[in-house]
């Protein structure tokens, strides 16, 4: 059992799966940078969370439901949870864009489900992801393999945060769309263990007066000087 101040946010799992370093920068180092993507994502969520709870025929819809599991040490919020007559529970998560290649959305939904099961003392066998571009639901079945994967990711997340570990960066194609690229500076890793040597090269200049920087077009207008 975890105490309340050991709880980790469910949303961190998504960061973890996208890039472990990104996850550590946010949740270990607590750096956070907003970019258009994260802002858009939040708007979408605000909309999903905004509406009042509704009751439509046999379904009661709860929005922005807080979730917590002391057994797993997780806390989070579900976009929508449907409570069907007869005790069936269905979590639904809204996502910008189209289905991702990785399992992050399914893992997030599964983690929510694990919390819900513990809180409601029930079993939940499926839920839905709703992708903005598709405008329809994608069913997610909570079978043994996704549950197992989710548990392993939760363990990895906890280990990383408790060890205060930030994995080193590597420039990858996905860095292009990473909201933390400007803080992560993956390119600084080019000389990871050789910055001191790089510095030596920078400062290696001799008395050569032709050693003039060329990298900057800005000039101070000295060419206006007339010979005396």
């Amino acid at each position: 059992m975890f105490t309340d101040n050991q709880l980790l946010p469910i949303s961190a799992l998504q960061h973890l799966i996208f890039c472990e370093r990104q996850c550590a920068l946010i949740h270990v180092e607590q750096l956070w940078a907003e970019n258009v993507l994260t802002v858009e994502g939040r708007h979408l969520h605000d909309k999903a969370h905004d509406g009042p709870s509704e009751t439509a025929r046999d379904i009661r819809i709860a929005r922005g439901l807080w979730l917590k599991s002391n057994r797993l040490g997780l806390i989070g919020q579900a976009d929508v949870v449907e409570f069907h007559r007869g005790g069936v529970v269905r979590p639904i998560e809204y996502k910008r864009g189209k289905p991702k290649k990785d399992a992050s959305d399914r893992i997030q939904l599964c983690a929510q489900t694990l919390c819900l099961e513990e809180m409601l003392e029930t079993d939940i066998d499926e839920g839905f992801l709703f992708y903005g571009t598709r405008k329809r639901r994608t069913k997610v079945e909570f079978d043994a393999s996704i549950r197992d994967l989710t548990m392993r990711k939760i363990e990895r997340l906890r280990q990383m945060i408790e060890d205060r570990e930030t994995p080193t960066a590597r420039r990858m194609p996905k860095c292009e769309k990473c909201s933390l690229v400007e803080l992560c500076l993956p390119d600084s890793q080019r000389f990871r263990n050789g910055v001191a040597a790089w510095n030596d090269r920078q400062f290696h200049c001799d008395d050569d007066v032709d050693d003039v920087p060329e990298t900057d077009p800005f000039d101070i207008g000295l060419d206006l000087l007339e010979p005396r």
Binding site: V28, L185, R192, V195, F203, I220, G221
Partner: protein, 343 residues
């Protein structure tokens, strides 16, 4: 992360800044004159008697826009910054290193050697462009002298000797500052470096731009999670932004000094643009102040390749990148801090 780094400079006395949705509105005499979305801004600099609504300060704090309140001539009064990224691990590491004499010296050496190297490059660049044979050779031989200072700074064994080297090279550099000017008019000579107050026109310009740079460095530190007050070369003194001052060392000559020279050489700023008070203090008048700020802002939009990251970036982002590289070094991601050396 912000890429555009626009700074809103407000210089009109009595202007009132308020929040309108996610935008800042500047109103002068109850008339709304300007509306800018906060997400386009990196900082707001209020020079002189400017008012700011609490709602705007709150919105800026949340949006990561730092607000500085300065005297009309750039003297620091106060700043509004939101919660910086709650990076307690980074800050602890920063304090640990600042308390450790060896680490402090190691980091401080980088700031000073880069400062001297960049000043030297400014001299050499000016020498190359100079059409005056006498100035050219004076600038070149001074640059040679400064080579020695770079070596001394890199090998300094105490903070005091490092500061000594820094002072010596500053004197050497400023001794030929006039040689980098093309219109040597009476009253427009550089005499010696005077800060509080500036005693000649060039010092007035330099001090003004250095304080703009300090504002930028301060917000870069805050945005990165570093404590802008705890420096390595500049030791703790209440009210002094030590680390911001450390970080601007790499940029003084490259950015501020060259901008001053350009404004003077192109006669954008002239002797009549200053007030000389009875006490001898020299102050930039209001209209030319705007001109200087516009030139500074424009200069910050120029694109340059970052020597270490080998990535195109704007001149304005350089100080942010250096703050982040310092943070990455303190956190142990890279084995040393690569200062900005203009090559």
């Amino acid at each position: 992360m912000k890429k555009h780094l626009n700074t809103l400079f407000v210089t009109t006395e009595g202007a009132y800044l308020k929040k309108d949705g996610q935008a800042v509105v500047v109103s002068i005499e109850k008339q709304n004159r300007l509306r800018l979305p906060l997400h386009n801004l990196d900082g707001i600099v209020c020079l002189g008697n400017i008012m700011c609504s609490p709602a705007l300060m709150g919105a800026c704090a949340r949006a990561g826009v730092s607000i500085s309140f300065l005297t009309p001539y750039g003297g620091f009064i106060a700043a509004v910054n939101g919660y910086s990224p709650g990076n307690v691990l980074l800050r602890r590491e920063q304090y640990r290193r600042a308390d450790d004499p060896d680490s402090t010296l190691h980091i401080a050496r980088h700031f000073v050697s880069a400062k001297i190297a960049n000043s030297r490059s400014v001299l050499l660049r000016a020498a190359r462009d100079s059409r005056d044979a006498e100035s050219k050779s004076a600038l070149q031989s001074t640059a040679k002298l400064m080579m020695r200072n770079i070596r001394a700074a890199r090998n300094a064994t105490t903070l005091d000797s490092l500061r000594g080297t820094e002072g010596e090279s500053a004197n050497t550099y400023f001794s030929v500052f006039n040689q980098m000017m093309s219109n040597r008019v009476k009253g427009m000579e550089f005499t010696f470096r005077s800060r509080r107050p500036p005693l000649d026109r060039i010092n007035a310009l330099l001090s003004f731009l250095y304080s703009m740079l300090t504002h930028d460095a301060r917000s870069a530190c805050e945005a990165t999670g570093l404590d802008a007050a705890v420096g390595f070369l500049h030791r703790d003194r209440p009210g002094r932004p030590g680390l911001s001052l450390d970080l601007i060392e790499e940029f003084r000559a490259f950015l501020a000094d060259r901008l001053v020279l350009s404004l003077l050489n192109r006669k954008q700023i002239q002797a009549r643009d200053f007030d000389v008070t009875e006490s001898g203090a020299v102050l930039l008048k209001e209209k030319p102040r705007k001109e200087v700020l516009a030139a500074y802002q424009k200069r910050k939009q120029d694109v340059i390749t970052h020597p270490f990251l080998n990535e195109k970036t704007t001149v304005g982002l350089l100080v942010h990148l250096q703050a982040r590289l310092l943070a990455r070094y303190l956190r142990g991601d890279i084995d040393d801090y690569p200062p900005f050396v203009w090559r």
